[in-house]
Symmetry: C2
Subunit: 324 residues, 2 copies
Amino acid sequence: MASIKDVAKMAGVSVATVSRVLNDKGYVGQHSREKVEKAIKELNYKPNEIARSLFKKHSNTIGLIVPDIMNPYFPELARAVEDTASKLGYNVILCNSDENKEKEQAYLDVLKQNYVNGIIVSSNTLTAEQIEALNIPIVSIDREISKGLPTIVVENKKGAKAATHFLKSKGRKRIGHIRGTAGVVNAEERCGGYREAVAEEPWFTESYIVNGNYDMESSIDATRELLGRHPDIDGIFAANDMMAIGAIKAAYQLGKKVPEELAVIGFDGIVLSSVMIPELTTVAQPIYEMGELATTVLVNLMEQQPMEKTYYTLEVELIERRTT
Amino acid sequence: MASIKDVAKMAGVSVATVSRVLNDKGYVGQHSREKVEKAIKELNYKPNEIARSLFKKHSNTIGLIVPDIMNPYFPELARAVEDTASKLGYNVILCNSDENKEKEQAYLDVLKQNYVNGIIVSSNTLTAEQIEALNIPIVSIDREISKGLPTIVVENKKGAKAATHFLKSKGRKRIGHIRGTAGVVNAEERCGGYREAVAEEPWFTESYIVNGNYDMESSIDATRELLGRHPDIDGIFAANDMMAIGAIKAAYQLGKKVPEELAVIGFDGIVLSSVMIPELTTVAQPIYEMGELATTVLVNLMEQQPMEKTYYTLEVELIERRTT
DNA sequence: ATTGGATGTGTAACCGGTTACCCTTTTTCA
DNA sequence: TGAAAAAGGGTAACCGGTTACACATCCAAT
């Protein structure tokens, strides 16, 4: 591969001049510029980003840490981040943390050692101190780590409340809730929204809430338990779409018709929800938009642009489909 | 951040010695080693990977180029690649090419400029010349680019044939095929397998094959057309799962019951196929395993390990579920 | 005519590691 | 006992860029 020295030699100038035309910075005479440009073309010269990074102390790369890219929420997010980053001239390093504290810290270290400019992270094990210690711009997405940190989340509580009210408006009399993973902030919030919506109902007791794990399997079991406890339940609000699917599977297993005997509404609006049969009614997050926003906020942070706002709570949209 | 010089100063040795203990290479006395290790711990020193990369001419990173991470086939692949790479000490840069020639070439250039050690790519627009010109280890996955290049694919033809035979064994008399994207090698192969399986059938004509685009929407239209042409079709082999889902949707729209009136079998075995309702019968690729294998092959290539084989054609598994 | 700012360009230090090379000391063994 | 080999460790060049600084030239304003 040709280096800047080769270009300089061919153009008959110094490396400094080549660097100047490369970066369009400093004074360069018309004549020199042309010679350099010609040499660059002739040698098909591409500057070495690693050498650049060493000097600049950052590598035009951003780290994306997600729990698991196989979780259907994240591919869309990853795509949005990569699209936006790419457009702005950054690469994306993908990291799967499995919500594991050690893995996360290890990735943070590796990313820092690789001089990433910034990090987008979806995590609930990370602490504000850990992040501040890193001293790299970070934006948190889908999950709030701390009020002070740049964050992109959605109206979890509001959406959950709307979902539950929607079930009521459809004439459902007994509505159960399958909670998300214990300890995850958005699971608390969604559960809170559900609670607010049913608080006044005479039939409501805590036993209408069961714990799921944000995945399908846990939800199948949870739903069977819930339906066993309360056979009169005719509506379920699941804290995410995968659990809503689990609920539907459980209903089928128990011989209950969806939506006739049991209406189900999910949360997230993953692609799967519109693809499955029957199509799932859900409270959709603007996932792509969130990824986009997270990336632009992060890049602004990295480039030290002045910003009026770094904490965004986005609106959520209830999409009615076939399961309600 | 502490640098190697700080460590050297604190330990009272030269940077060369620090480097030697870091890399466990060359002679280092017990006494020096201990002093250096103590200094490293005390300063929480982590070597700067970028500086290392500059000298080594590679960055312990591999590029992963996929058409679109939102396509449900790829998250599992990406996960396998990242897991394996991470285990072996490499980072993964994620690139979405949208099957676009220019984007792909641009990414290849960027990756090269970033001194990636190797690249895993799923593409059918790339040519062998392009890849050889790059002069970086590459393994192709899911799609063959050239016989000579390291490649991980599956028995497309065999699987397709098995799928079609399976439909026959279930008593289906007229079996249609929804082809994958024109020009994609595996679409040709799967179509070839179908052809072989139905070649002897008296009813078979080319009109039992329709073109899809490996996505759900194209398949809905294609299926409606196919079923319009041949209302007697009672079995469909779709060249991938997303198209199989489209076929099922189309069947529902037309009032046909699946599987009673129309059996549907897909190909790929994406997570979605087991999650949807009804669960999809499919010819499953060992996606995770493919990603794993691709990564280990690539790493062996990068590390110049001797290898007996770099072209793998993996077995495929027919999983019977509810749609047949 | 003088001077000071703008323009143009090269030299060399620097980013933070690795390692070739050299020198000294210790060990091994004929 | 002496020479060769092994062990230990420092100096400085190098990877491929960027940029501070020095120096030269040119032009406009005084």
